[in-house]
């Protein structure tokens, strides 16, 4: 069974500083990896995804993530954060299945930007 671990429940960061949100996964098969963002009182929005190919993937709002198969990690990074990045970030994994496959989510990391 697949699982996702987000070790940091809360991450405070000063505005314009870099940030890394950690995600580790466990699966017995090849996986697809995702980062979703949830702004207050809103639904989940896809930030970026890794399906195959280059291990460094770029997403919206200046975020990027690197897939590391040997370390089973998919950490999310941004070189300079903005107040508007304050949100909950969820890492998720899917074992595939022709577009019909459940997502397993981590517990989320609340990113707080300090002015």
């Amino acid at each position: 069974a697949q699982s996702v671990t987000q070790l940091d429940s809360q991450v405070p960061v000063f505005e314009e500083a870099p940030v890394e949100l950690r995600c580790n996964y466990s699966s017995s098969v090849s996986v697809y990896l995702f980062w979703y963002v949830q702004y207050p009182n809103q639904g989940l929005q896809l930030l970026l995804k890794y399906l195959s190919g280059s291990t460094l993937v770029k997403g919206i709002n200046g975020f990027e993530a690197e897939f590391n198969k040997s370390q089973t990690s998919f950490h999310l990074r941004k070189p300079s954060v903005h107040i508007s990045d304050t949100a909950e970030y969820f890492c998720a994994v899917s074992e595939g299945g022709f577009g019909n496959e459940k997502l397993t989510f981590g517990t989320g990391t609340r990113l707080t930007i300090i002015p």
């Binding site: 639904g43 989940l44 995804k49 399906l51 022709f98 577009g99 019909n100 459940k102 517990t107």
Partner: protein
């Protein structure tokens, strides 16, 4: 840009009552999902639906839950007899053939009293 919509945004019901949560997936999508998020906890998969039948369901999705696509646009989640522990945010999601990107709706907050 097309989006997944959900109604109502907030539903309050008494324990033992039936509730129906409604979703309108993106029009050309073929795969549909329900997830829930209990306050302060992670998002959990409930059920996936394709070609008018359930593809996969979790242990949470017991006999009290059912899903239906009554027409060409709506996708519903019914809870027959709600319990206090059903209080959560329920998210609908959809994706089209060949895509692993699930689009999520804004959620329905269900409060069972």
């Amino acid at each position: 840009e097309p989006e997944v919509t959900q109604t109502p945004s907030h539903q309050v019901t008494q324990m033992g009552q039936e509730v129906i949560l409604r979703c309108v997936p993106i029009s050309n999508h073929l795969y549909f999902y329900w997830y829930r998020q209990i306050l302060g906890q992670k998002v959990e998969f409930l059920v996936s639906f394709y070609n008018n039948e359930i593809s996969e369901k979790s242990e949470i999705f017991d006999d009290q839950f059912s899903v239906e696509r009554p027409d060409g646009s709506n996708f519903t989640l019914k809870i027959r007899s709600t319990k206090l522990e059903d209080s959560a945010m329920y998210f609908c999601a959809s994706n089209h053939r060949g895509s692993y990107e699930q689009y999520f709706g804004p959620g329905t907050r269900l409060t069972v009293t």
